[in-house]
Structure formats: C-alpha cells, structure tokens
C-alpha cells in the first residue's frame, strides 16, 4: 500500500476537524437558536411551564459548543 506524502497527510488531518466543526455548527445553531426563540416567545405569553426544559436544551447546546471550541483550539495549537 502506497503511503501518502507527509505534507498531504498533514493537510488532511487538519482539514477533517475544520470541516467537521463547520458541519456541526449549522444544526447546533438550529438547536440553540430555536430554543432561545421559544423561550422568548413563551416569556412574552407569560407561559413559564416549559421554559426550564428549554433552558436545559439551550445549556446542553452551549456545552456542546464549548467542547467544539476546545477541539478547535487544540487543532489551532497543533498548527503551531
């Protein structure tokens, strides 16, 4: 089996996390954005019943985003 040239191998290794992070950000944005929109709308209506659940969805989304940012930072550091 022919090995990839080192330069190409390194490029692929750095591209994968970047593309993966990009693709994860779009659905994560939907989770965060719609949960925040629903919280705003329910507060306007004075309906507090489901807001704690929506806050948990939003908090989980932010946790996932933090994990992605940590991963992103690691990728950046490995470039140095």
């Amino acid at each position: 089996m022919t090995e990839l040239p080192k330069a190409i191998e390194e490029k692929i290794q750095h591209m994968l996390p970047r593309d993966l992070l990009h693709d994860l950000r779009t659905p994560l944005g939907h989770i965060l954005g719609y949960s925040e929109l629903m919280i705003e709308q329910m507060r306007d209506r004075g309906d507090e019943e489901f807001i704690p659940h929506l806050e948990k969805i939003r908090a989980a989304g932010h946790k996932l985003l933090e994990m992605m940012r940590d991963n992103f930072q690691e990728t950046r550091n490995s470039d140095r």
């Binding site: 693709d23 950000r25 779009t26 954005g33 719609y34 929109l37 705003e40 989304g61 992103f72």
Partner: protein, 133 residues
Amino acid sequence: MPRILLVEDNEMNRDMLSRRLQRRGYEVLIAVDGQMGIDMAKANAPDLILMDMSLPVMDGWEATRALKVNASTRNIPVIALTAHAMSTDRNKAIEAGCDDYDTKPIELTRLLAKMEALMPRQVAETTDEKEAP
C-alpha cells in the same frame, strides 16, 4: 425601522434569524443566494446586509466584492456570517470588503451589538420612535 437584508441559503437559519430580528423591530428582507442578494440590495437599499458566505450561484465573498464596487451599494455595511471560525476566515471576509464578521452559531446579543455599531443613526431613530409619547 431599520431594514436588514439577510442573504442565507439555509431555510432554518433564515426562518430563525429573521423571526428573532423582526421581534426586535427590524424589517427583514430575504435573499437565498449571492446574486439575489446583490439584486435585492440594489432594489431595496437596506440599512445593513447579513451575508452568509457559503452560498449557491454566487458565494458571499464574490457578492460582497460586487456590492462594494457598485456606487449604489458600496456604503451599505455588510456583516459576514459563517460557520468557519478561524482567523483566516475573518481575514478573508474583511479582504472581500465585509465591514464585520460573526461566527455561527449566532449569539444574538453579540450580533445585535455589531449591527448597531455599523448603523447607529437608524438605531437611534428607532429608539426615539419607541420612546416618543
């Protein structure tokens, strides 16, 4: 009421962001690709453009470059929106002529601050209208 042109090909992103901006008093126009964004900017003279960069037909970088060389649209502030979050992505957007840059997922408070910084006159007028008796 400040008029915002949102150029975004993802239907859920369009729906979500336009509704959140409308709730805050902005008029939101929608374009789904870069060419449509240019056409709508020329026809409607928005106060600010939110430009996704990965777009079909014509991407956001090319559309912004075209807007910034056209006399009727060059003074409209453009904020680039992208899910790419590296510093090179920011530089690429600024080099294309974007006035600012923000990453997805959108943090609305941060985005609103950037929008207001680029169009203080319209925001002041909107505030005055709301505060008028």
